[in-house]
């Protein structure tokens, strides 16, 4: 699993790729936390490269969403892979997140 963060004027984009499982979820969550703790509460989480997402990764996403919302911002999802969509649906959490099929639209939502 790898993450890459790009800062924009109104938000930060955290792009994750690979497997987000119990082994890698701590690093995934830390990447989100670093952005949020740095004062940016508008976050786009790009998930096009995530081929596997376990409950541990999903917990990190929910924690990130809660932190962003409590800071007056939001955490939105961009281009989730089919596997990620399946996991969100399975947990019944799809409606919890704003989901964009285009990165520009996700960034532009802030």
């Amino acid at each position: 699993m790898e993450t890459q963060t790009v800062e924009y004027k109104r938000c930060s984009v955290v792009a994750a790729s690979g497997r987000v499982d119990s082994n890698t979820a701590p690093a995934f969550e830390e990447a989100l936390k670093k952005v949020i703790d740095g004062g940016q509460h508008n976050v786009v989480l790009q998930l096009s490269g995530v081929e596997f997402l376990s409950s541990a990764g999903l917990r990190g996403m929910v924690s990130g969403l809660k932190a962003c919302k409590s800071g007056g911002g939001n955490l939105v999802l961009a281009i989730p892979s089919e596997r990620v969509k399946t996991v969100l649906d399975l947990a019944g959490l799809t409606s919890l997140f704003s989901v964009f099929d285009d990165l520009t639209a996700a960034v532009g939502s802030f």
Binding site: S22, N23, V62, L90
Partner: protein
């Protein structure tokens, strides 16, 4: 290491790995290999990979109470469109009734994601059975071809 036990109109394979999170990818590869060989479709393989990943994560976290405390033994038995996965460990007894249920269908502030792994296992597999005996925990999960 993957061991071919017996192939006679069925596929039966076994994998033993240390109970550490870095072996979850090895386990996922093993499941994919068995599923492909048995002719299951990609969605079925993904469902079994997810359920097994959650089960093995639970073994490490709850049965062994941390990584590198013991081995995880996986056995796959595929026959007649039915895929039986048996996972054994020698950790402390695991009682699924003691696991809190996730609270998902609620407002964001009230969402509780504890127990999500067990919830996924039940959602993804056709049956999930836990037993504990003198040899440790045994989890038997069955997935039938859709």
């Amino acid at each position: 290491m993957s061991i071919n036990i017996d192939v006679s109109m069925s596929i039966k394979r076994e994998l033993v790995v240390p109970g550490s999170f870095e072996y979850l990818v090895t386990i996922a590869d093993f499941i994919a290999e068995v599923g492909c060989e048995a002719g299951f479709d990609q969605d079925t393989i993904f469902h079994v990979q997810m359920a097994v990943d959650e089960a093995c994560s639970n073994v490490i976290e709850h049965a062994y109470c941390g990584p590198s405390k013991g081995d995880i033994n996986l056995c796959c038995d595929c026959q007649g469109g039915e895929w039986v996965v048996t996972i054994r460990d020698k950790g402390r007894p695991f009682d699924p009734d003691q696991v809190v249920k996730p609270k998902l269908d609620t407002d964001l502030e009230d969402i509780k994601t504890g127990g999500l792994g067990l919830y996924f296992m039940h959602q993804l597999m056709d049956s999930v059975e836990f037993t504990f005996g003198k040899d440790g925990n045994k989890l038997r999960m069955v997935k039938r071809e859709v």
